[in-house]
Each structure stands twice: as structure tokens, then as C-alpha cells.
């Protein structure tokens, strides 16, 4: 088991190093001119050159890379966990990420857990009577939900639940500006307000999460239902289930043992899905102005803020790899055959 985890950790680490290299050089190979972008299109030659110097872009690429990873004397870099400063605001990027990342993780984790809790029973109902009316309806639903433009559904929810019904708050952020945010401990509003015993902030935070989470759960339930259904159907046709049926064990008990075996392979798929939606949170954050790392990525990209772009890609890839790894290890623990 230890060897298995170690091997996977090593692969992930190599992948991250390769990602860091590719991101750094790829964005410098693309035909974009960040200096013109930051200094303004009609900046004078002098101000162009001075911005170029201020950004360090007048140095050879390899020197820039050295500064980025932090092997040049007198500067800290990626090796010390320092992402550098934003070209646009001048603030340290680590600080920006520490502020925006928890917002995204909170949204996605809550949506993920809820979608899973809803999807497992749905997938099981399908698998218990394949081809039945419930199976067909759920299958149609999962195909539909899995192919929807989530940003549009977010807007649709805003129209119905805010504009028409008035149940939801305006889509303008994570908290009502009138509510004092709880002191930052973890950055997750839900957890911080619980730690501070601040009922008002907790309620307001959940109220603002209502529509974005509903949108995400709807879209996510599609692929998760499909996974559970496939795995459950596969297990239900296996020899050991047939044997249990022949032995006269009640269908409920069979379903319970089958569920455990069906959920183990879904863990790996869930890991892939989590990374995928972490990178895709951009859209839903934009619709609801949540100010997470996705929205930070949009502003960094549109402003040609290279250090911020590099940091966002690395952080998201690292978290995706980590979650994938953790769920894969959990899968291997449930199914020892995989550890070989």
C-alpha cells in the first residue's frame, strides 16, 4: 500500500514540475504582448521600455525563468512557494489565491457532496430494474443534465428565484454587503461563521450559495447518476450476486453489499470529475460574482497578468491531482486487487 501511494505521489510530483515548465514557456511562446497591454496601446517608446524593464521582461527568458523558480540570488520564487507579485495590482499572488481559492472549494465541495447524495439512490433505482420506467426516466434525465450550459441555467435560476419570486438574494457576491463577514480562519464562510458562532453570517452565506449550488448540483448529477448506474448494473449481473440470489438472501441485503462494490470504482471517476469542475468553476462564479479563483483566473487572463496565470494553473492542477490521488488511494483500499 505504501509503495502504491509513494509511486502515485512521485508521478503527481513529476507531472506538476512538467506543468510548471510548460505553462511558463508556453505563455511566452504565444504571440501576445503583455507590455503593450499593461502600458497601453499608444504608450510612448520610453514608457513601453520602462514598463518592460519594470516587469523584468527585458531579461533573457532563462533569467526570467530563474527568477520565477527562485534560483537567482536575492529573490524568492516557486521553490519557496512564492508565486511572485501580480503585474496589475502589485499584490503578492499567494495572498490573492488564499482569499479566492476557499470560495471556489466551498462551492464545489458542497455541490459535489449534495450531487453525490442525490445521485446514488437514483442510480441504484435504475440498476435494480434495468429498462423499467424509472430507469428510462432517470437515464434521460442524466443524459440531459450532463449536457447543459451551466452558466445559462444559473441565469435562468436568477430570473425565476430572484427577479420573479424574490426568494434568492441578488447575484452579487458571497455575502450581503450589510452583513459583517466572520473573522477569516479558514476562508470558508460557512466554517468561519460557525467557528465565530455568527448565525447571521452563516445564514446569509448559505442564502447566497443556494442558487449557485443548485445549478452545480443539477449539472453534476448527470454524470454521477450515469456512473453509479453503470457500476451498479455491472455488479448486479456478477456471479456473486447471482449466488446470493440463489441462496435466498433478501434483495435489500444484496443491494447493500452490491452498493459497496459499485461505489469503489466510482471514486476514481469522481476524482477526475472534481478536478474537471474545479477548473470549470469559472462560469458559475462569473454568473453569481462569487469572487473565487475562477473569476480571478478570468481577470488574470484578460489582463495578460502572466505570474497570476501561472499560479492559477498550477494551484488548480495541484489540487486536482491531489484529490484524484486521494480518491484513487481510497479506491485501492476498498479494492485490494488494485494495489499490485
Amino acid at each position: 500500500m505504501l509503495a502504491f501511494v509513494g509511486r502515485r505521489l512521485l508521478t503527481a510530483a513529476i507531472q506538476l514540475v512538467a506543468l510548471a515548465l510548460i505553462v511558463f514557456f508556453a505563455i511566452r511562446l504565444l504571440p501576445a504582448d503583455p507590455v503593450a497591454r499593461l502600458a497601453g496601446q499608444d504608450a510612448s517608446r520610453e514608457s513601453y521600455l520602462s514598463s518592460q524593464h519594470a516587469l523584468g521582461l527585458d531579461r533573457p527568458v532563462m533569467v526570467q525563468f530563474g527568477a520565477y523558480i527562485g534560483v537567482l540570488p536575492g529573490s524568492s520564487g516557486l521553490l519557496e512557494g512564492d508565486f511572485g507579485r501580480s503585474w496589475v495590482t502589485g499584490d503578492p499572488i499567494s495572498q490573492e489565491i488564499r482569499r479566492t481559492l476557499p470560495i471556489t472549494l466551498e462551492l464545489i465541495t458542497i455541490s459535489f457532496v449534495l450531487a453525490f447524495v442525490i445521485s446514488v439512490p437514483l442510480g441504484m433505482i435504475c440498476a435494480l430494474r434495468p429498462g423499467g420506467i424509472a430507469d428510462r426516466m432517470t437515464f434521460g434525465y442524466s443524459l440531459f443534465a450532463g449536457s447543459q450550459p451551466e452558466f445559462w441555467w444559473g441565469l435562468l435560476f436568477i430570473f425565476f428565484f430572484f427577479s420573479v419570486l424574490g426568494w434568492a438574494p441578488p447575484p452579487l457576491g458571497r455575502l450581503n454587503p450589510m452583513v459583517t463577514p466572520p473573522p477569516v480562519v479558514t476562508g470558508f464562510i460557512t466554517i468561519d461563521s460557525l467557528l465565530a458562532g455568527d448565525g447571521e453570517a452563516l445564514w446569509d452565506g448559505l442564502h447566497h450559495l443556494m442558487l449557485p449550488v443548485a445549478t452545480k448540483v443539477f449539472v453534476l448529477s448527470g454524470p454521477i447518476v450515469k456512473m453509479v448506474r453503470q457500476n451498479m448494473t455491472r455488479v448486479m449481473t456478477s456471479d456473486y450476486v447471482l449466488y446470493q440470489q440463489a441462496s435466498g438472501i433478501s434483495p435489500g441485503r444484496i443491494a447493500l453489499t452490491a452498493l459497496k462494490n459499485a461505489l469503489a470504482p466510482t471514486l476514481t471517476l469522481l476524482g477526475i470529475l472534481y478536478g474537471y469542475i474545479l477548473g470549470g468553476a469559472v462560469l458559475i462564479e462569473t454568473v453569481f460574482s462569487l469572487g473565487g479563483i475562477g473569476q480571478y483566473a478570468v481577470s488574470a487572463v484578460l489582463a495578460f497578468d502572466y505570474p497570476a496565470i501561472q499560479a492559477v494553473v498550477l494551484v488548480i492542477a495541484a489540487i486536482s491531482l491531489f484529490v484524484y490521488l486521494a480518491l484513487d488511494v481510497a479506491h485501492a483500499m476498498l479494492d485490494p486487487r488494485l494495489q499490485g
Binding site: Q15, A18, L19, I22, I27, L30, P31, A32, P130, G131, G132, D135, R136, F139, G140, L143, F144, G146, S147, Q148, P149, F151, W152, W153, L155, L156, I158, F159, F162, S163, V164, P170, P171, R229, Q230, T233, R234, T237, G275, Y276, L278, G279, G280, V282, L283, T286, V287, G294, A297, V298, V301, L302, F304, I309, V312, V313, I316, A317, S320, L321
Partner: protein, 306 residues
């Protein structure tokens, strides 16, 4: 994962897909096929069918669509050729452009980008997959590690970065999506090649003295392509979602091109004030189109498994 384990998984997959295949009805497949055909048709002729000029603003700004009770009257007037005011079936947007015309014209951008990107990555990916499946194991392994690496990038954010920094144009979006989707086809073709390589007809060709390269191109590839083509149907749908999403955040197609994601973004502010039609109709178009590709792909998969 070792080679043989991968083959086992692939076989197992085909096996239980076949078991899932039986019960679910064929209706979804036919609906999907019709939607796919319509979207391809509109990609070609959509911009020529528009009742209004898609680029010229008018003073009829933010007109709501006619209410359902008015529709029969309007249709009667139109059919009788009686004089009637300009009808905007889906309303107009904040620039006074006809929403219906723009929804019809948008597949020229959305569908052609998605189809183009997938043809591109299908071609490159299946050839690389064939290569990875037939070359020496270490070469194949290296190809797979590189494709793993591409897949470790967060798809949407990488798409935003590449399109924006390479200069926003339909061409860059096609190339970017093609790059991001190629690993899917490499993986798929390779695992299919590994299962096909030792089938009877391949061994027969070997006995006849055909070279390995000839066998790969003439016997293995054609048989390994089916799953890639099925995958293409589903991935074209996702590419439409991605194109619209990139445009929605301002990192995709340039305005004023009629494009569904741009239209939704332009109407987003109005939604809070109850002006729903400029955003809602293009969204319905995306929703139906992508669902159509998913249903079509799913149906193909079941037919293939049988």
C-alpha cells in the same frame, strides 16, 4: 496499468455496455439524430435564413416577443399577406437586433468551431493512438505520458489562456479545442488497437506476409475507429458548450458575431430586471443542441455494442 489489464477493462466495458443496451428505447437516438442533422444544416445555411439583418441595429430596442395569445392573430395576418408591424418572434436585444435571426445564424460559429476542432483532434488523435498502440512499448508509453500531461491541465482555464494570448479568433478556438481533445482520441484509439491487434483477421494478414505498418493502417485502424467516431458525437456537444462558455466570459468569439454564448452574456444584465428573452432563447438553442449530440452519441454507442 499493464497492457493486458487495459485490454481486460476495455472488454469488460464493451460487455456491460451491451447489457445496458437492450432496455432503453430508441426514441432518444432518433431525436438526437434529428437535432444533429438540423444543427449541421443550420451551420451551412443558417445565416441565409434570417428574416432580419443580423448585423444592423434598429430602433426597436428590447422588444419582448409577442405573447402566446397574440401568436395566432399574427400568423393569420402574415399568411393573409395583410399589412402588419415588423414581427420579432423572439423579441429584440439591447441593440435592437432580432433575437430569432441571430439564434438561427449562430451555428455558423458554434457548430463549425466544434465540428472543426473534433475533426482535427480525431484525425491527429487516432493516428497518434495507432502509433502508441503499435510502436515499441516504451515509445507508446511515452506518447501516453505526454497525453496524460496535456490532460492534467484544467481544461476551461487552459482554453481561456490559449485563446486569449494567441489572439481571439475562430481559428485559434478550433486549434485550442483540438489540442485539448486530442488526448481523448489517443487514449481511445490506443486501447482499441490493443484489443484488435491480436484478432484473427489481423493474424491472418500477418501470415500472408503483410508488413506491420500496412496491417496497422488497413486492418487495425478502420476497426478501431468506431469508438472514436462515437466519442466525437459526444465531444462535439462539449465543444459547443466550451465555445459558448469561453465567449460568455469574454475569452472566445469576438462580438458582434452571432454566437450563442455572446448573446447570453449580452442579455445577462437584463435578466435581473426581468428582460429574459435576449438570454433565454440562445440558451435553449445550446441546451437542445448539446443534448442532441449526447443522445445521438449514446445511441450510436449502444448500436455499436450490439
Amino acid at each position: 496499468m499493464s497492457e493486458s489489464a487495459e485490454i481486460d477493462t476495455a472488454l469488460l466495458q464493451a460487455d456491460f455496455d451491451a447489457q445496458l443496451a437492450r432496455p432503453v428505447s430508441n426514441t432518444l437516438f432518433h431525436v438526437g439524430a434529428a437535432i444533429v442533422a438540423l444543427s449541421l444544416l443550420l451551420m451551412v445555411i443558417g445565416p441565409w435564413l434570417t428574416p432580419y439583418d443580423i448585423g444592423r441595429p434598429s430602433d426597436e430596442i428590447m422588444q419582448p416577443p409577442p405573447s402566446l395569445s397574440q401568436v395566432p392573430g399574427l400568423v393569420r395576418q402574415m399568411l393573409a399577406g395583410a399589412p402588419h408591424p415588423a414581427i420579432h418572434w423572439l423579441g429584440t436585444d439591447s441593440a435592437g437586433l432580432d433575437v430569432f435571426s441571430r439564434v438561427l445564424a449562430a451555428p455558423r460559429a458554434d457548430v463549425s468551431i466544434a465540428v472543426g476542432a473534433n475533426l482535427f483532434s480525431l484525425l491527429v488523435g487516432s493516428l497518434l493512438g495507432l502509433f502508441a498502440g503499435t510502436a515499441r512499448p516504451w515509445v507508446g508509453g511515452l506518447t501516453m505520458r505526454i497525453s496524460d500531461l496535456v490532460q492534467a491541465f484544467p481544461v476551461f482555464i487552459t482554453g481561456m489562456i490559449l485563446v486569449t494570448l494567441a489572439g481571439r479568433s475562430n481559428g485559434t478556438i478550433v486549434v485550442t479545442l483540438a489540442l485539448l481533445y486530442t488526448p481523448i482520441y489517443i487514449r481511445l484509439t490506443r486501447s482499441e488497437v490493443l484489443t484488435q491487434r491480436h484478432r484473427g483477421f489481423v493474424d491472418a494478414a500477418r501470415v500472408l506476409g503483410k508488413s506491420e505498418g500496412w496491417i496497422a493502417l488497413h486492418h487495425v485502424l478502420p476497426n478501431a475507429l468506431a469508438p472514436a467516431m462515437i466519442q466525437a458525437s459526444v465531444t462535439i456537444g462539449f465543444a459547443i458548450l466550451m465555445t459558448a462558455g469561453l465567449s460568455f466570459v469574454g475569452a472566445g468569439v469576438r462580438p458582434p458575431t452571432p454566437e450563442w454564448g455572446l448573446m447570453i452574456a449580452a442579455g445577462a444584465d437584463g435578466i435581473v430586471q426581468g428582460e429574459w428573452w435576449p438570454s433565454v432563447f440562445p440558451g435553449i438553442a445550446i441546451s437542445i443542441t448539446v443534448f442532441g449530440y449526447a443522445a445521438f452519441g449514446n445511441g450510436l454507442e449502444r448500436r455499436h455494442a450490439r
